[in-house]
């Protein structure tokens, strides 16, 4: 970011390449729409460009860009007023013949054991995450998808670190309950 502030545009390219995937996944899991997530990520980087001169390096760039993305996601969700997300089984695309959200979120690198459980487990996981309250889901996504430390998540969300950890625990307990029928399978996973 310092290099970009000095006018090095290649530094911005490097920033985009490094952060676009986790940001996109965070926005996608929050908004559940590919196009909306794409717009949010693009807008987040434009905000970075517009406010690059004001960035004081008092916080990490990751914290800053996630704060922007989170706020944009909240705006999007407010615009939708009521979170009417499509079903994981709804087909995507203009002709409704595209892959389902469950298929899109399926881990291509899933191991043999997980493949054995079939698509049902993938759908259940995605649905369970989707059912989490917003404050717990965003903490879960930042920790599990973006691999951010709790301290940084606290900075992004503007709540104490212990609150973040509590939300994380509640999220895990909810997921545990939602996926209870796979508990034995899960305990067998290494």
């Amino acid at each position: 970011m310092i290099r970009y502030q000095r006018g090095d545009r290649t530094a911005f390219v490097a920033l985009v390449q490094r952060h676009q995937t986790p940001l996109y996944n965070f926005a996608f899991r929050q908004l559940r729409l590919q196009s909306a997530a794409e717009d949010v990520v693009q807008e987040a980087f434009i905000r970075v460009v517009q406010n690059a001169a004001d960035f004081k390096h008092e916080a990490r760039f990751t914290t800053w860009v996630y704060t922007i993305t989170r706020n944009l996601c909240i705006d999007q969700m407010r615009k939708r007023a009521l979170r009417k997300h499509a079903s994981l089984d709804d087909a995507r695309g203009a002709d409704s013949d595209g892959p389902t959200l469950g298929e899109m979120t399926a881990d291509k690198r899933a191991n043999v054991e997980r493949e054995a459980t079939g698509d049902e487990l993938k759908e259940r996981i995605a649905a369970a995450v989707d059912e989490l309250p917003d404050d717990q889901r965003e903490v879960f996504l930042m920790r599990e998808v973006s691999n951010l430390p709790f301290k940084e998540i606290a900075d992004i969300t503007g709540v104490p670190e212990n609150t973040v950890k509590s939300r994380m625990r509640y999220a895990l307990e909810r997921l545990q309950a939602a996926l209870s029928e796979y508990e034995e399978f899960a305990r067998a996973l290494k």
Binding site: T21, V41, Q42, V49, A53, A106, V129, L172, Q176, A186
Partner: protein
């Protein structure tokens, strides 16, 4: 570690964010507590199970972002551009090379400010300030003493300067009184001695005679940093004629003045007489003064009179007339003195002083004697009755 404390750090243990010591303590607790072990194991299993795969962003997302960045850079608000420029300048300024260069330039610039020679402007030259022996600025002295006669004298000097060389006789009448008046003004401020005035008189006179005014000659050897009057210094050189002869004459004059100051009046008289033989009225005046100092007014008054009669109309002539009057006054010849002072009443540069001398002198016996008053008729009648 008890169960309550373990639960408070359950998430940290789950994500490996505890330090080694606390983590070991929690592991010992879990090993001995089935409930906490089940709790931790359940959350660990959920973490392993609830893995969300990373979704690859659209392939064109990066290009879209970079295109948007290009257009966004073009419309960066002025404040943002300024902040970016300041940031860039700041990053340059923070470089040690820049700091060293700035320090070096500052040192050089500061030195130049102190070492730069001050070139006087034309206005400065016209109002040049020369310091006297006493440290009083000459320009201030001339400006501050402003009787009407001095103003006139300065005007004459300015006119002489502005119009260049005058005809000798006119120049003598314009420049010389101007210089003298300016000097008198300075003298009024307590600045000058008679001999310095004499040197300046001589400088002014020699200037009108066609020789350029040489400040070193005008100052004389004994005056040691004496003041060069504003009128004299402002007078432009008129020609380069006979500089060597002028220098020699000035040297002889300075020697004579040195003898005069040393109270070697006989030697001074000889030297001034030699110079006066060449037609220098100023030297003749000083020769008379030397005689007065050595032999008294009786011996000098004829010299003053002779010079007064010969050079009345010039500065030395006026001075000789005035000093002749002073001598006659000292000798008790008040009528003769009054006659000489009266001649100067029409000379602007000497009128005030001459009038003051006339006022100081006691009236003549004819004017002072009270008139006899005729006795009253009644008294006459009474006297006749007796």
């Amino acid at each position: 570690m008890d169960c309550e404390k373990f639960e408070s750090m359950l998430i940290d243990e789950l994500y490996g964010e505890l330090d080694e010591l606390t983590s070991a303590a929690s592991k010992r607790h879990v090993a001995g507590c089935a409930r906490c072990a089940s709790l931790l194991g359940g959350l660990k299993a959920t973490r392993r199970l609830a893995v969300l795969p990373m979704v690859a962003p659209p392939a064109d997302l990066e290009s879209k972002i970079l295109a948007a960045e290009q257009s966004a850079r073009k419309v960066v608000p002025f404040r943002g551009r300024m902040a970016r420029a300041v940031s860039r300048a700041g990053s340059w300024a923070m470089k040690p090379q820049t700091q060293m260069a700035a320090l070096f330039l500052l040192m050089i610039g500061g030195s130049m400010a102190f070492l730069r020679a001050r070139v006087p402007s034309s206005a400065d030259k016209s109002a040049s300030m020369v310091v006297t022996e006493n440290g009083a600025p000459a320009a201030t002295a001339v400006a501050s003493a402003s009787p009407a006669g001095q103003t006139e004298a300065m005007d004459l000097a300015a006119a002489a300067t502005a119009h260049g060389p005058l005809e000798p006789e006119h120049a003598r009448q314009a420049n010389a009184p101007a210089a003298i008046a300016a000097d008198k003004a300075s003298e009024a401020q307590g600045g000058l001695k008679d001999d310095e005035l004499a040197l300046r008189q001589r400088a002014a006179t020699s200037n009108t005679k066609g020789g350029g005014l040489d400040p070193s000659n005008a100052l004389g050897p004994g005056s040691g940093g004496g003041m060069l009057g504003a009128a004299a210094s402002a007078a432009p050189p008129t020609s380069q004629g006979a500089p060597a002869a002028t220098a020699a004459a000035d040297g002889a004059f300075a020697n004579a003045m040195a003898a005069y100051r040393a109270k070697n009046f006989d030697e001074a008289t000889r030297d001034f007489d030699a110079l006066a033989a060449g037609g220098d009225d100023n030297s003749a005046l000083w020769a008379a003064r030397s005689v007065r100092e050595s032999s008294g007014c009786g011996a000098a008054v004829n010299r003053f009179d002779e010079l007064s009669g010969r050079a009345f109309g010039t500065q030395p002539g006026y001075d000789a007339t005035f000093e002749s009057g002073e001598c006659y006054k000292a000798m008790g010849s008040f009528d003769a003195a009054r006659q000489r002072f009266s001649r100067l009443l029409t000379v602007p540069s000497h009128a005030a002083r001459a009038q003051a001398e006339l006022n100081k002198m006691s009236p003549s016996p004819y004017q002072a004697a009270p008139k006899r008053v005729a006795p009253a008729p009644a008294q006459q009648m009474n006297q006749s009755a007796y």
